[in-house]
């Protein structure tokens, strides 16, 4: 009930009570008077009746007026005061009470505000200390999160019900829908086709089920296998299987259990490795080896058979003998080609477990130049070369090789200045280090090759030759034909064409705030689908959304032009899993609406229509409670598309307008901005779907403890209380 109505009710009731009391007084006085006095009284009433009546009515009116005044100036403000004091000490210590009322009351408000100042300072100091401690903890968590995020493997951690608690960037790359991790900007960032493609697929997100990402049967099978292994106390308790990601890459998945201290199964972790490339290489290598083997068998069979005939039948006619010799010659030549061409190819495919990275030669020379100067006092003059050759090397090992060689060349020649150049010939890159004098002897190089690759207390337990072999590299020293009296040490390396970039590893940047890739509280989440009404508000998953429309009349044909939504899990807003999508309403947007939300006809022209957006949004809201401010309006907007799209939102709904009326029933203003002001939520991007959704989400989270104080803890209780509020009767 609104405050004005309350005052009028109070005023009327007061007058009524006063009138009844006055009448009762007259009746009582009449009955108790002595019989003989009644004519006198009758005469007095006859003579002064009007005056008495007027005075009586005036007294009653004055009494009623005073009562209403007290009600307005003391009782209602006291109620508001009570709510606002609670607001200060529960969610918003910065809130100050501004009430008008009786003198004593305003004095009290002043005292309370002064107390609030003190309280705020005290809380801030406690908060600062908590904040520092929390920041340290957060930093540790963030280090973990950053490491997790940049692991080359995709990782999903789930509780025992299969609800995702943690995932990393790689998992996001493999499994998430590109078009639903939307940006908050206004640019047309989603192609219609991409959106259509995503329909019917589940989203990856905290609190969502893994079964939507990977087949339920395969996961249940893996969990069954894990449980059996656990029962048998087997050493290896993992289960491996192969799945495909959104881009149909083959992923090798390994699921392992997470046990609590009592060794009970409390969740599981699944690690995914992209094996597409590996399998392809393996298959290619196997094919090459097999075909290599078969070709050798063929040729050797022909050669062997021909030779045996020549040996066993020495007298065969010369033409036949010549024919057999031709076979031997042709097959030997084919073997030679096979060894030169195909074995090299097979070698390329099968070797290189050693991790090699692409590097341009100028960059290699640059690094080498500095190290040679710093550590050996050797000057390297790099000749300008055209082109930018690339090689694939272990940078550390290659620089070590080059320093190792330069140190020895320097010891042999006594020269401390070398000219470096590089050139590319077909598939080979040459790195030359030249000096004035004789070339190194081949025996010397072979000797170096057998030495362990040690250089100034650094090195590896491998011989130089082994490391060169891993790089498929060779070394040689020769007299430079083009430059008189000059010799050179040449390193041969296979050229690398950087067309197909290897998968890029990003720097692990510690985020300023906690990345929303995990929520370990979900470990304690109850089952996936128990009776929702009995669950605590703070434990539920929510989709908080807002729509911007062409107008305020859904029944009259107004349409959605933008949907913004966020998810809340365990009272955390998952901003990285937002849904922000403009919609082409297929009708004109009135200027009056554009003035409010800033969305014009031109901006929505290239955007998908509601038939495309709504299915994606429906998927986004799956398994969550829908929250909106003045939800009746937004839900009505969604309902208008039911017939057209066949999509019906059946999720339970909570309305922050109604919830605010529960926690702040004495407050007149229940607009989003006013509630935000009361609860200390900053107002940003007002009247954009995403901005309002974000504000609603923050408000909702702050309301949960206030609702708890009113005894409203579960979804069922919140819904029941909402229904009883004044605003619940509003319709659209």
């Amino acid at each position: 009930m609104k405050n004005n109505s309350k005052i009028w009710w109070a005023f009327s009731i007061s007058i009524g009570i006063a009138a009844v009391l006055a009448l009762a007084l007259v009746v009582l006085f009449w009955h108790q008077s002595i019989q003989q006095n009644r004519p006198i009284l009758q005469e007095i009433f006859a003579r002064y009746g009007h005056t008495i009546l007027v005075i009586g009515l005036a007294l009653i009116a004055w009494f009623g007026f005073m009562f209403a005044r007290v009600f307005r100036n003391a009782i209602i403000p006291m109620n508001q005061l009570s709510e606002e004091v609670e607001l200060i000490h529960s969610v918003n210590p910065a809130h100050r009470i501004q009430l008008e009322g009786a003198y004593g009351l305003t004095q009290l408000v002043e005292k309370i505000n002064t107390g609030a100042e003190q309280y705020e300072k005290l809380e801030k100091s406690v908060f600062d200390r908590v904040h520092i401690a929390k920041a340290e903890l957060e930093e540790e968590k963030n280090i973990l999160a950053a490491i997790m995020a940049e692991l080359p493997e995709a990782v999903l951690v789930c509780n025992k019900e299969g609800m995702i608690i943690l995932y990393n960037s790689q998992a996001k790359r493999y499994f998430s829908e590109k078009n639903t991790t939307l940006k908050t900007g206004r640019q047309p960032d989603i192609a219609k086709d991409a959106t259509v493609e995503s329909q019917g697929k589940a989203h990856l997100g905290i609190g969502r089920s893994i079964f939507g990402i990977i087949g339920e049967n395969i996961i249940r099978h893996a969990l069954g296998e894990i449980r059996t292994k656990l029962k048998r106390n087997e050493e290896n308790v993992t289960s491996t299987f192969v799945v495909t990601d959104r881009a149909n890459k083959l992923l090798r998945a390994e699921a392992a259990p997470i046990l609590n201290p009592q060794r009970e199964f409390s969740g599981f972790i699944v690690v995914f490795n992209d094996i597409t490339q590996g399998l392809r290489l393996e298959a290619r290598a196997e094919f090459l080896v097999r075909s290599f083997q078969e070709k050798i068998r063929h040729s050797v069979a022909s050669i062997k058979s021909a030779i045996e005939i020549i040996q066993v039948y020495p007298d065969i006619e010369p033409s036949r003998q010549h024919q057999l010799k031709e076979i031997i010659h042709a097959e030997s030549r084919s073997l030679e080609q096979l060894i030169q061409r195909e074995s090299k190819e097979a070698f390329k495919q099968t070797r290189n477990q050693w991790p090699l990275v692409p590097l341009s030669i100028p960059d290699l020379f640059d690094a080498l130049q500095k190290k040679a100067d710093e550590r050996l006092g050797i000057e390297l003059a790099v000749e300008p070369c055209t082109g930018r050759c690339w090689v694939k090397i272990d940078t550390y090992a290659m620089i070590l090789i080059l320093l190792f060689m330069l140190e020895r060349v320097c010891a042999e020649t006594g020269i401390r200045r070398y000219v470096c150049r590089y050139a590319e010939n077909e598939d080979i890159v040459f790195l030359d280090f030249s000096w004035e004098g004789s070339p190194l002897k081949i025996e010397k190089l072979r000797q170096w090759e057998t030495m362990q690759l040690n250089f100034m207390k650094e090195g590896m337990p491998l011989h130089l030759k082994e490391v060169l072999d891993h790089h498929n590299a060779e070394i040689w020293s020769y007299a430079d034909q083009q430059r008189e009296k000059k010799s050179c040490l040449r390193i041969y390396l296979p050229a690398f064409r950087p067309q197909e970039q290897d998968s890029v590893r990003h720097a692990a940047i510690l985020p300023a705030s906690r990345p929303e890739f995990y929520d370990f509280d979900l470990f304690h989440q109850p089952g996936q689908s128990p009776d929702l009404d009995n669950r605590l508000l703070k434990d539920l998953a929510y989709t908080v959304f807002d729509t911007e429309t062409t107008g305020l009349n859904p029944a009259g044909g107004d349409a959605i032009v933008s949907i913004g939504a966020l998810r809340i899990i365990n009272t955390h807003i998952l901003t990285e899993e937002s849904f922000d999508q403009m919609v082409n309403p297929q009708r004109e947007i009135p200027l009056s609406a554009t003035k409010i939300h800033g969305i014009s006809d031109a901006m929505v022209q290239s955007q998908p229509i509601i038939d495309v957006v709504l299915p994606a949004f429906f998927k986004y809201t799956e398994g969550t409670i829908i929250v909106a401010h003045n939800a009746a309006f937004d839900m009505r907007m969604l309902q208008t598309y039911e017939n057209r799209t066949g999509i019906k939102f059946v999720n339970p709904v909570l309305d922050t307008l109604l919830l605010s009326a529960i926690v702040h029933s004495a407050q007149e203003d229940q607009t989003l901005s006013s509630i935000a002001g009361r609860l200390g939520v900053s107002v940003v991007d007002r009247h954009t779907a995403m901005g309002d959704a974000m504000m609603t989400a923050k408000i909702f989270i702050r309301m949960i403890p206030l609702l708890e104080k009113k005894g409203i803890r579960t979804l069922g209780e919140a819904r029941a209380a909402s229904e009883k509020t004044y605003y619940a009767r509003m319709t659209f």
Binding site: Q293, K295, S299, S305, I309, E331
Partner: protein, 124 residues
């Protein structure tokens, strides 16, 4: 009448020595360079023994072997696989399909001569 040997291989460099060997050992020889050609010759000439390569253009050696074994008229034809496919699975497959012998390349001439002789002497 001397036995007829059909040599099925698309590599002339192996066919020539084989043909010479078989002829030196008193056998008539026929040559096919593909599976289809082999089946055609088998249906017309009914050779006593087939030296069969597996990797052939078109119908491969395994299929030729299977077709021969499924035809009751040809069930007495002896089959020797003579192939570069040396994996255990290939050998097992060849034998299951009904080959009498499986010889992997490279082989010795004597090995072939002995195998052919043995199979031709065996009662049908």
């Amino acid at each position: 009448m001397p036995p007829t040997i059909l040599i099925v291989d698309d590599e002339p460099n192996i066919v020539i020595p084989l043909q010479f060997l078989m002829e030196q050992n008193g056998h008539n020889t026929l040559v096919a360079q593909s599976g289809e050609e082999a089946l055609e010759i088998i249906s017309k000439e009914k050779p006593d023994l087939v030296l069969l390569d597996i990797m052939l253009p078109g119908v491969d050696g395994f299929e030729v072997c299977e077709i021969i074994r499924l035809n009751p008229e040809w069930r007495n034809t002896r089959i020797i696989f003579l192939t570069a496919k040396g994996r255990d699975v290939d050998i097992a497959k060849g034998m299951v399909l009904g080959a009498d012998e499986y010889i992997t390349k490279p082989f010795s001439n004597q090995q072939i001569i002995d195998a052919v002789k043995k199979l031709l002497e065996e009662p049908e």
